[in-house]
């Protein structure tokens, strides 16, 4: 679970990123409920983490399936993760024992990769779900407005949002419906296109019917009628969803009206026989009708599937399509991962360019080049310089360069915190014109 891949480089003033958290894979819902952050709590937690000196930048990502802390630790190494973990448990008043084995920790580029995978929907309960990208965006923008982020987390979260967008645009990870109810509605769109001008009739007022109604409403279905054996239940669902409740006895009369028919009633035998549906199609002058049978046992006579312009899907058909879609989404994971790798490389290039060791090496290279040019030019003008004297001049100037670099190098490594160090590195790169390579 734990991984501190970059901890070996601790102390070299490398830009550190750390995260801890738990999600639907590591913690049951009862525990996730207890460690969830409200938006206000997320901001106060970020404040507290920064004030206590555990982190210099912090973002809290809390959704129904995950609670995660992302930050730039003041002090690098495993101590930072331990401090974050201690804060996490004490903030939510859960014992460390309860969280034992439930929390995962990542550091460095592994932490960045984790966030990118989260934003891409690869770490979600439903692979490729779209909501998580909005939740990452909200968590980041709230922390940004609150002043809890800095150059490092800004870079990481902006990268995550870009990854999330690209993965959804360039791969099929987020495409295709993954629930039976949504698959039914999406298939209806394959027949009718935009559902705005179309009508639906729902037989049954249970939870499954409600899910379908929700999807239909989201797609702006033109009109909605609900029929149920219990008229009160039908009226209740119709009231909540803005439809019209119909008496069960009037079913046959209204059967010819809807373009989409969804059934999920408990019944020993078919409620909608072939003859009944044949008359319904006749009543609608042969216009196509899309029937989703979610009942078990089936509500629609299987023979009805042969009727012209009737598209019938039962729960098994839809389940099979969902399974196909799941496999298709999984097949897209390598493409999504390659987008993530591309952005990790970009981030690493940016990070390397801002590291103390890197800036000192770059400065040394620059000074050495200048030194060689100056020695070559100046010694060409002086004729009586022996090879030994040339050697000595080279040694002296090299020592001078090392002494010149000693103080800035020490100052960049010690104190002023990560933000101060980054500002110093930025300034040096700018002054010496070393920033051209940085993206």
């Amino acid at each position: 679970m734990a991984n501190d891949s970059n901890s070996g480089r601790a102390g070299t003033a490398r830009i550190q990123i750390a995260m801890i958290g738990c999600n639907h894979r590591t913690a049951p819902v009862e525990l996730r409920e207890r460690v969830a952050f409200t938006p206000q709590q997320a901001l106060s937690a970020a404040d507290e983490l920064c004030h206590k000196g555990i982190l210099e930048e912090a973002v809290v990502l809390s959704t129904c399936n995950r609670s995660e802390l992302y930050g730039v630790p003041g002090e690098a190494g495993p101590a930072a993760s331990a401090a974050m973990e201690e804060f996490f448990t004490s903030f939510h008043r859960v014992s460390p024992l309860e969280m034992n084995g439930r929390l995962y920790r990542w550091a460095g580029s592994d932490a960045v990769r984790h966030l990118f995978r989260v934003a891409a929907g690869l770490d979600s309960m439903m692979l490729g779900e779209a909501e998580i990208l909005g939740q990452v965006r909200t968590a980041y923008s709230q922390a940004l407005d609150h002043g809890a982020t800095g150059p490092v987390l800004n870079r990481v979260f902006q990268g995550a949002l870009e990854v999330g967008k690209r993965v959804r645009a360039e791969t099929e990870v987020g495409a295709r419906p993954m629930s039976v109810s949504l698959a039914g509605v999406k298939l209806a769109e394959r027949v009718f296109g935009n559902l705005k001008g179309h009508s639906a009739l729902i037989l049954g007022a249970g939870a499954v019917a409600e899910q379908v109604v929700e999807h239909l409403q989201n797609r702006g279905i033109g009109s909605l009628r609900v029929v149920n054996r219990s008229f009160d239940h039908a009226a209740e669902l119709a009231r909540r969803m803005g439809g019209e409740a119909i008496e069960w006895e009037s079913l046959e009369k209204v059967l010819g009206m809807p373009d989409i028919l969804v059934t999920s009633v408990g019944s020993a035998g078919p409620v909608l026989t072939r003859e009944l549906l044949e008359r319904a199609i006749e009543a609608r002058s042969g216009r196509p009708v899309f029937v989703v049978d979610l009942g078990v046992p089936r509500n629609v006579d299987a023979e009805a599937a042969g009727l012209y312009n009737l598209y019938l899907y039962n729960i098994d058909d839809l389940g099979e399509i969902v399974e196909q879609n799941k496999k298709a989404r999984e097949a897209e994971i390598p493409r999504a991962e390659s987008i993530i790798n591309e952005h990790i490389s970009k981030f690493e290039a940016w990070r390397s360019a801002l590291e103390v060791r890197s800036i000192v090496d770059d400065l040394r290279d620059r000074f050495h080049k200048d030194r060689e040019n100056v020695i070559r030019e100046k010694l060409a003008e002086i004729k009586d310089v022996s090879p030994e004297e040339r050697q000595r001049i080279a040694h002296i100037t090299e020592e001078l360069i090392e002494r010149l670099l000693e103080q800035p190098s020490r100052r960049l490594r010690v104190g002023r915190g990560m933000r101060g160090r980054l500002a110093g590195i930025d300034t040096l790169r700018h002054i010496f014109g070393l920033d051209e390579e940085i993206d």
């Binding site: 645009a169 360039e170 791969t171 099929e172 495409a175 295709r176 999406k186 298939l187 769109e189 394959r190 027949v191 009718f192 296109g193 199609i281 006749e282 002058s285 042969g286 216009r287 196509p288 012209y308 312009n309 598209y311 899907y313 058909d317 099979e320 399509i321 196909q324 879609n325 298709a328």
Partner: protein, 271 residues
């Protein structure tokens, strides 16, 4: 006469095809717009290629197989672009541009150097007659493609085996409406073209040439497409049966465009 503009059109159609094909699998509005733009530029370039050819031969280029087929392809592209804009639907673009590429690509393989012709002798009425009829055939060809997609989509919906592109294909309802629009365009062009043809024939020969096989088959085409439009709104035919009828009607168009032109008619044989 050079073929540079023709090759440029082909290149633009190929680029447009790749964009249309890409949006089938990964729908992106900006890429769709690029696809449409490339197709439009390809059509403009194709127009100038035809113009160059017609200036060279002093006639609308229908006097040889290459010119006639190139004109057909151009009108197919124009009709599709019109329908795409009217119905705001790009998902059949990949199929249409692929058809254009195959059509024009195969032409390029045996493109003959057109001989410079004498000034046009048959006048603008004749030119309109042939161009409008070719346009009608192009519109029917487009409806044929849409009908075939409809039938495939209908089959997939009934089999429940939905592949990646299936979720981005146009809905049956949209295909049906596009197909009908194509047939309306085709019928309007064909009726106008036939009327002009009758007037021209009457002026030239003093009779309407009712007995010419091409005229008979063309009137049959008018009849079967009118029947399609009527049946596609009837209870027992709307949907897949109408799409099948529309696809079958195109076989008569192909028969008229090839066999009748080449072997049955003398009055309508131009090459």
């Amino acid at each position: 006469m050079s073929y540079h503009l023709g090759y440029l059109s082909l290149a633009l159609y190929v680029a447009s095809f790749f964009c249309y094909a890409r949006i089938l699998f990964s729908p992106q509005e900006w890429l769709g717009r690029i696809a449409t733009f490339l197709l439009a530029v390809g059509i403009v370039s194709h127009y100038f290629a035809l113009l160059e050819r017609s200036r060279w031969i002093h006639e609308v280029p229908y006097n040889d197989l290459y010119g006639s087929m190139s004109l057909f392809a151009w009108l197919l592209g124009v009709t599709y672009l019109g329908l795409e804009i009217f119905h705001r639907q790009r998902s059949v673009g990949a199929f249409v541009t692929l058809l254009l590429i195959i059509w024009i690509g195969s032409l390029a393989l045996f493109a003959p150097q057109a001989a410079p012709g004498p000034p046009a002798a048959r006048g603008p009425l004749f030119a309109f007659h042939v161009t409008l009829n070719t346009w009608a055939y192009a519109a029917f060809a487009l409806s044929f493609v849409l009908s075939v997609i409809y039938l495939v989509q209908d089959r997939i919906l009934r089999s429940g085996r939905a592949g990646t592109a299936f979720w981005h294909f146009p809905a049956l309802d949209v295909l049906d409406r596009m197909c009908q629009s194509g047939v309306y365009v085709g019928l309007a062009a064909l009726i106008s073209g036939v009327i002009m043809g009758f007037i021209w024939a009457h002026r030239l020969t003093g009779n309407y040439r009712w007995g010419d096989p091409k005229v008979v088959v063309t009137l049959a085409i008018l009849l079967v497409y009118a029947a399609y439009l009527w049946l596609s709104r009837s209870a027992n035919w709307r949907g897949a049966r109408a799409a099948l009828l529309c696809a079958a009607n195109f076989l008569i168009v192909m028969f008229s465009y090839t066999f009748v032109n080449l072997y049955l008619t003398k009055f309508h044989r131009f090459f």
